[in-house]
Structure formats: C-alpha cells, structure tokens
Symmetry: C3
Subunit: 137 residues, 3 copies
C-alpha cells in the first residue's frame, strides 16, 4: 500500500493524479493485475474522465454543483458541507482499474482524477496494487 | 466469499456495516490486499461516507430523494420503484476497499454503508477478500 | 486481460453484457476471486441493474437525461457531449464484482450493463479476472 498526497486549490476541483498512480504501480513491479485507488476522506472522491480538453472538467464541476448545490433549506449538518458528502457518494470513494503491461489501463482520453468537493485541502489517496510480476494475471 | 445479512427499517436508509465487513476480512486472515463488498440487489447500493454526525446521512438521503423522486410522469416500471433503481446505479452496486494491517482501510470519519433505496427489507451483501496473509500485497 | 466489443445503437443506452463477462471469466478458469470490468471511454460507463423488465432501463435512461440534460447555457466543451462525461462519472468507469463458483456473482435480477452516454458507437470494455482456480479465494 502506498499513499499519494494531493494539494487542492479550490472548493471544487478535479485534480489529475494519473502520473502518481502510474508511479505507485511501477513501484510494485506488478505487470498484470489491478490497482485500487481510494480516497481516505468523506468529501473527496475518485473518478476517470477526459484529460485532453479542460472544458470537460469545467462542465463536470459546474453541472455537479447545479445538481447538488451548497445550500438547501433542509440540510442539517452543521459543518455546511453536506453537498460535498453527497457528491462524494455519487462519484464514489474508490476506483478500481486494470493493470496491463505494468501500467493502469486507460483509454486514449482517460485520466485519473481526485475529485475535491470541499477544498482547498491536502488530501491522501491510498493505492493498492494486486497481481503478478510475470505478465499474466 | 462470505455473506452479510442486513435488515433495513425505512424505505431509504444508510445502514452502517463497517463492523461486519471488518469481521469478514478478519475471518480470511488476509493482512494486505483488497475487499470487495457487493449488493446482490438492484435497489440497494454500497458507499462510504461519514459515520460521526448522523445529520450527514439525513442530508444525503434527503438530497438523493430530491434528485431522484419516487414519482415521475414518465416512469413506466410497474413496481413503482424506478427511483430505487436509479439511485442504486448512481451510488453503485459494489465497493472495493484496500485491506491494510488486516482491516479495511478507512479514513478517520469513513464508515461503510449499505444504501437501502427500497426498504424496509432484508438485504444480502457479499464480501470477497483477496490478498496475502503475510502482510505485503 | 480480455477485451469485449460492444456496438451501441442509440445516443443513450444500457446494453447488457452479462454473457460476455461470464465468458471472459470462464476463459481464465478462475473459480473464486473478482472480476474488474472497465470502460476505456470517457463517455461510457458500467453498472449493474435489473435485467428482467425493460421498463427499468427506460426509466433509468430517462431520469438520467433529466438530471443531466444535453444542453446547458454554461457548458463550454465544444464537442457538445458534456452531459455524456458527467453521466459517465456519476455511474462510474469501472465495476468490480465477486467471482464465485467460476462466475460473476449476481443477484436474481442483476445484469451487467455497458452504459452508452454518447452513441451510437463501437465501445471496448476490458475485463480482468483475479483469483484462484481451486475454488477458494
């Protein structure tokens, strides 16, 4: 198990961590298997989405903010970040990807993102790699 | 593979099952690896969220009910639980967590929840643990 | 690792791929373990939901379209498929299921679906199976 630290700069942000996850996989020497990437926070999630056009990230953040706004008359949680908790469960607290040829398997436009829903903060992402170093799962 | 039974008491509820998942991991003797927790139902999901302030659970349930209400003019499914199916896919039918030092790895405020979206019912959650008993993945 | 090709016929569609995933698991000979099913696209996701009444799929698609419509005044992404990216992160790019008795473990009404959010297209789904051929995880 390895931990990645991610510093986020906004309240809501998708921060790409593909390189860090690739490095964590490389450290294990696993060639074929899986990698689990897990947020250790209740207001930060993980996802995979496009890493070519930054407008995609903008639109995802904007739409999620519209679906789950920061204030609602019925929110009771005193910390004022109920929206952050909802968004975290919607995107999901962990992500499992295939490891192939010693790297997380990603399509041409796919990048791995930490989803910050209550920043700016320093976040910890745990990475666990399972599999074989011989090239067959 | 081990099964956990969960009795839910409301139509919508987040029922914490952290202790049961921890016990299932302990039974296997795995020290380093992963645990997959899977709902065997199409109207119950799994998530991780805060287990300190119960108001978080209240707010998550209330907001999800607003995003996906129980009735819509265009719903066709005769059982009247289309919302339950939508919420299940939004939160996800299974959850993969890292196992570290013989336990599911969880941040300070994280708990594992069965998400009941069409209760009250008795639900079955399956748990599979993969890894090494020697303390390195 | 094995790849499944899926041809989708609509812009939004849930295409059942249970049989193909079962076949990929069978090919490996794994009896107890897990299977990771991963979309290699940023506008197609994976989920599990009911495969008995097709009205469930209708209602899920319709509701998701209402939550995340195709156009919003604030969308910037020039390809015009921002909704597809949002839906993909909401449902999730990959799915991990338990393998038990040589098959993906599924409840009575559960089927595995590729979620097409920007079709029609030909999609690639990668499948990785981990576990033991001897019948214990």
């Amino acid at each position: 198990m390895e931990e990645i630290r991610v510093r986020t700069g906004e309240r809501n942000a998708l921060v790409e961590i593909t390189a860090q996850v690739e490095e964590a996989v490389r450290h294990t020497g696993v060639r074929e298997g899986i990698v689990v990437v897990q947020s250790l926070h209740t207001t930060a999630a993980l996802t995979v989405n496009e890493n070519a056009d930054p407008d995609v990230v903008h639109d995802v953040l904007r739409k999620m903010d519209e679906i789950v706004p920061g204030t609602e008359p019925y929110y009771r949680h005193a910390e004022g970040n109920s929206d952050s908790h909802v968004k975290t469960s919607i995107f999901g607290p962990s992500l499992t990807l295939i490891v192939h040829h010693g790297r997380p398997l990603l399509g041409r436009w796919q990048g791995i993102y930490l989803c910050e829903w209550d920043g700016p903060r320093e976040r910890t992402v745990a990475v666990q790699v399972m599999g074989s170093q011989e090239g067959t799962a």
